[in-house]
């Protein structure tokens, strides 16, 4: 566990020194909310039916772009090979990576929630909604972190990550949009969306920790 924390601290330090990574993710998220509000005219209508979709597509795309970077710099500088040589299990490296990706994304998402609260005058920072956002983010960040190891094979392949990850994330997207809608007071449908989110988060983290050694092997 302490070595996972070491990986996590290293990543956070790098992210702090080179702020371009998460700042561009934040800028991307802000701009995409603006683009959505022009495209769907969110300023006038009752936006609650549309808002969950807007939020989650923004989260997914900025998250995918952020995680696709997570192994790229390491493989360019050779850090990744050094970490694999170190006497820790690859699953530990995965957990550390996962936590650092999760924290940076949660910060971006929190900022975005505050921004949408201000822009659309809809209180979004409720306990239920923050819970949905957290569980959903754990689910997709763990899957995207596992798949982003392909990005370590050169920048041209990075475009493959969304193509691979988004179909796998379809259940998560449907469940989190519906759960967010329920938290915003949409007509309740009976399906247990939050339970589906929890199951997705569990299987993707466990599967990621089990399969990461296989994909990271050189």
């Amino acid at each position: 566990m302490s070595s996972a924390l070491a990986v996590f601290r290293k990543d956070l330090q790098l992210a702090w020194r080179d702020r371009s990574g998460w700042l561009s993710a934040l800028a991307f998220a802000t701009i995409s909310v603006l683009v959505y509000s022009f495209a769907f005219d969110l300023a006038t209508a009752d936006i609650r039916p549309l808002l969950p979709g807007v939020l989650w597509t923004t989260f997914l795309f900025s998250g995918i772009f952020a995680t696709s970077q997570s192994f790229q710099r390491e493989s360019e500088t050779g850090t990744f090979d050094a970490m694999l040589v170190a006497p820790v299990s690859p699953s530990t490296i995965y957990v550390g990576k996962l936590i650092s990706n999760l924290i940076s994304l949660l910060i971006v998402e929190l900022a975005l929630l505050v921004l949408t609260t201000i822009l659309f005058d809809t209180p979004l920072l409720t306990g239920e909604l923050v819970l949905v956002v957290f569980v959903g983010t754990v689910g997709y960040v763990s899957l995207a972190t596992l798949l982003s190891t392909l990005g370590s094979r050169g920048s041209a392949r990075a475009v493959l990550l969304p193509v691979l990850a988004l179909p796998l994330l379809v259940p998560l997207l449907i469940a989190s949009v519906r759960a967010t809608g329920a938290a915003l007071g949409a007509p309740i449908d009976s399906a247990p969306w939050l339970l589906l989110l929890v199951i997705f988060a569990l299987w993707s983290t466990i599967g990621g920790a089990l399969l990461f050694p296989v994909v990271s092997e050189r």
Binding site: L164, L168, P171, R178, G207, V215
Partner: protein, 252 residues
């Protein structure tokens, strides 16, 4: 611990070989004629034997090919997932060839199922496509395994790293299926409820018989195509190795 693991792996291989080897040895003799006979029986049965459906008319005869193709595409992807897992355990590139071949066949089957579904859907539902649960799930499955083939195509035929990566996608793609089904099922549903596997089959006997023939025909066709594609991928791997060796010799 590692000794126990080795014994388990050895037992596993022994079981795989004793079960699959006879089938594998008979593949070129048995599969083509079986496929041909069953497919002919299905076509004759669907066009001539099966009664005309009262409400939907002649277009309902698409069922005899649409339902088997849609069902058996899951089997093809299951072969991909299992072969991927075996490849990850033993690191034998032949299993990668089988996984890749089965995914190609599965892509073809899902595409065919979506196509026949659209042709059947227009006169019956009035639309080519609807966002119904099983349609959506099939489309998502098609996209996932297209992604598998893309990920595998990143490296050459003998690129073990690309094969490992693709195998991981092949496995988690299959584990994802129940989640996809639950989510799109709760999302919306319009597809006719399953009438074949219900406790009392709602289809008349002749229709059920022809449908059974269709299932067998498509099953044999799928197995044959998977062996063909798998063998082709394996030959591509070998040709690639021979070419690499030749280059090496020329340079020396």
């Amino acid at each position: 611990m590692s000794a126990l693991w080795q014994v388990l792996v050895a037992i596993f291989w022994w079981v795989i070989h004793t079960l699959l080897e006879p089938i594998w040895n008979a593949r070129w003799v048995a599969l083509p004629p079986l496929t041909g006979v069953m497919m002919m029986a299905m076509i004759v049965g669907a066009v001539l034997v099966a009664p005309r459906e009262i409400v939907e008319g002649e277009v309902q005869r698409l069922m005899y090919i649409h339902v088997p193709v849609a069902t058996i595409s899951y089997l093809a992807f299951f072969v991909t997932a299992v072969a991927s897992a075996i490849f990850l355990i033993g690191r034998d590139m032949r299993w990668d060839a089988i996984a890749r071949g089965a995914a190609t066949v599965g892509i073809m089957l899902t595409a065919f199922a979506l196509l026949t579904g659209a042709i059947w859907g227009k006169p019956t539902w009035g639309v080519y496509w609807s966002w119904d649960a099983r349609l959506t799930a099939t489309l998502v499955l098609f996209l996932i395994y297209s992604g598998y083939l893309l990920a595998r195509a990143v490296g050459g035929p003998n690129d073990e790293q690309a094969a490992r990566y693709a195998a991981v996608v092949g496995i988690i793609g299959y584990i994802d299926i129940p989640l996809i089904h639950f989510s799109v099922d709760w999302w919306r549903t319009l597809h006719p409820q399953r009438i074949i596997f219900a406790p009392k089959p709602a289809l008349p006997g002749e229709m059920l018989l022809v449908l059974l023939l269709g299932f067998l025909g498509i099953l044999f066709l799928t197995l044959w195509l998977i062996t063909l594609r798998g063998t082709t991928e394996y030959l591509v791997q070998r040709a690639d190795r021979v070419r690499a060796r030749l280059d090496q010799l020329e340079r020396a």
